[in-house]
Amino acid sequence: MSGLFWFVEGILFCVALLGLRAWTQDRGVPMPLWKWILVVGWLGLLGFSLAFIGTSLGEGETVAAVKGGALFILITVIVGVGFWRILGFSNRVDERDERDERPRPAAAESTGSVDEEI
């Protein structure tokens, strides 16, 4: 059960990262390794906050769930907003339009098989 749970969790977070990748590409936000590390770190913080709330509720410690949950979620939001800016997610460029206008390698045009951004 535990193995299956982590397998499903792994798939869900992979899908989440793929979705983020598509989203950043569409907005023209470059994503070097350090940015991915920050993203994964933030997801870890979010996961910790939710797991803390769940664990406290499971233990019957409602005050811990409410107070601790509020504290950790607040930290998650603040860190999230900070990361959002650091990662340049708010600098919206209408990437789809821009991308369509960029010159493309001839080979890519001819075969239609290369999309360097995916």
Binding site: L12, G19, A51, G54, E59, G60, V63, K67
Partner: protein, 489 residues
């Protein structure tokens, strides 16, 4: 436009392009994945397999890597001439039962036996507390018990049921009771063991198999043996207890008290469950050792023992003594009850450990702040019979035990201690952080979190109404101990 881009733009049956679908799935994955972690947390908070010490009787619960925290000398320091405890007067249970037998209000202290007179002359504050217990607390307790008749019936019935299996330990002198009797065909001579190392491994494995959750081995420090024994142990309590030569080693075994009732102390928890289980392990292990041809004697609190158990537990590397006077182990916190077997079976001994408790207790003080009787010191460690430790007012503590309803005892200090937590990822992580933090910063943060996230009732509320309280317990009782849900009173 490339082929991929074309495919991107083609809408599928849901009206989304491939990229839109990918992004939406990403968002859904984040939400579902995070929700999964929350649910996993909930499950781990509720999971009975996190009731440490009850998962297995195979030694699987003694998981802490003690070697990393092993020290050569235990954390208590010898700072003066040491003195053994006189079980007749210094152990509060023996003293108060003697006082009850001999107390005559008119004669006062003069009517008491020599030892009690001498003790109360030395510690007059204990006379006040003990007499107050007999004259004031007992009658109040009787009245309250009648008034709240049946409120804690299930808790009491469950506790008594746990204590029902209580095999007698030894009541004859060591030269009779400790030696192999031949009843199981024991060898006339001790068997030749291959090595102390192998014997220690074997004894620990057998102790686990017998149901012990924690096991440790040490050489017995004579300072921990009572100077005069309790009644019913085969010694003459009037004579100094001469330590038998074969009390060379001490094996410590222990099992936890049930977790949910323990959190509902002082009314619903009990020590009898763990004491009964530990007692059975100790008696069985004693029998096992005797069948190897070696003498052995079980010391099983809370009734039959010839030594102070907590320091032996520390020497055997199972934990450190907390401010509340109870030993804190990495696995069970203070939620366990130990017993000791003394023997001369040669074994490799364990080293004491230090995993940060002394430092944590220095600033934490949660037990002292929550103790209803004010028995736990908020100050520094001080000299007690030649050793440096936190002082406990056992007379006041004992007096509170007899004032509250439900099961005998209190154990609030055990329940509120941040180390007494179940074995889920959250508390295991906190333990790992605090044990490995030499700066002490995490101790301060964890203590503040503990105080703010895990509030406790006002200590005065633990008392019965006639003593100004509300019969409070630290946490609500588990559903199966709520009498009112099952019985029409």
């Amino acid at each position: 436009m490339t082929l991929d881009q074309k495919q991107d733009e083609e809408k599928n049956s849901s009206g989304l392009t491939r990229r839109q679908l990918l992004k939406a799935s990403g968002l859904a994955g984040t939400v579902l994945g995070s929700a999964g972690l929350g649910l996993l947390g909930y499950q781990s908070g509720k999971d009975p397999s996190t009731y440490t010490g009850n998962e297995s009787f195979q030694g699987a619960a003694q998981t802490f890597d003690r070697n990393r925290f092993a020290v050569d000398v235990p954390h208590y320091e010898k700072i003066g001439p040491t003195q053994r405890v006189d079980a007749r007067t210094e152990v509060v249970f023996s003293r108060v039962s003697r006082l009850r037998r001999g107390w005559d209000e008119e004669k006062g202290v003069e009517g008491l036996d020599d030892q009690l007179r001498e003790y109360y002359a030395r510690v007059p504050e204990d006379l006040e507390t003990d007499v107050h217990l007999i004259e004031e607390i007992f009658p109040i307790h009787r009245e309250e018990a009648e008034r709240h008749h049946g409120e804690f019936l299930l808790a009491e019935a469950w506790s008594n049921a746990m204590g029902e299996v209580w095999p007698d330990a030894v009541d004859t002198p060591p030269e009779e009771s400790d030696v192999p009797s031949g009843s199981h065909g024991e060898p006339a001579e001790p068997l030749k063991m291959k090595s102390p190392e192998k014997t220690a491994v074997l004894i620990k494995k057998i102790a686990y198999q017998l149901g012990s959750v924690l096991v440790g081995i040490t050489k017995l420090n004579p300072d921990w043996v009572y100077s005069h024994a309790m009644r019913g142990r085969g010694f003459d309590p009037e004579q100094p207890l001469e330590i038998p030569k074969h009390w060379e080693y001490a094996i410590v075994v222990g099992t936890p008290m049930s977790w949910d009732p323990m959190y509902a102390n002082p009314n619903y928890g009990t020590s009898l469950d763990a004491y009964s289980k530990t007692r059975i392990v100790a008696l069985r292990l004693t029998s096992f050792i005797k069948q190897l041809g070696y003498p052995a004697r079980p010391h099983v609190p809370g009734t039959e023992y010839d030594l102070m158990v907590p320091p032996v537990v520390i020497d055997a590397g199972l934990g450190e003594q907390g401010r509340h006077g109870v030993v804190i182990t990495p696995e069970l916190g203070s939620n366990f009850r130990p017993a000791v077997i003394t023997t001369n079976l040669p074994m490799k001994v364990d080293k004491p450990i230090e995993f940060g408790v002394q430092d944590f207790c220095r600033t934490c003080k949660i037990c002292a702040e929550n103790c209803p009787s004010g028995s736990i010191s908020t100050g520094k460690r001080e000299e007690v019979r030649g050793y440096r430790r936190y002082k406990i007012d056992s007379a006041k503590c004992h007096s509170f035990w007899f004032s509250n309803l439900g099961n005998l005892g209190c154990r609030i200090c055990v329940a509120v201690c941040p180390y007494t937590r179940k074995s889920n990822w959250l508390h295991r992580t906190a333990l790992k952080v605090s044990s490995n933090d030499p700066t002490g910063l995490s101790h301060t943060i964890l203590t503040q979190m503990q105080k703010s996230f895990y509030p406790a009732p006002d200590p005065r509320d633990y008392y019965v109404p006639l003593l100004g309280g509300k019969n409070e317990s630290y946490r609500k009782p588990p559903w199966w101990l709520k009498t009112e849900d099952f019985i029409d009173l």
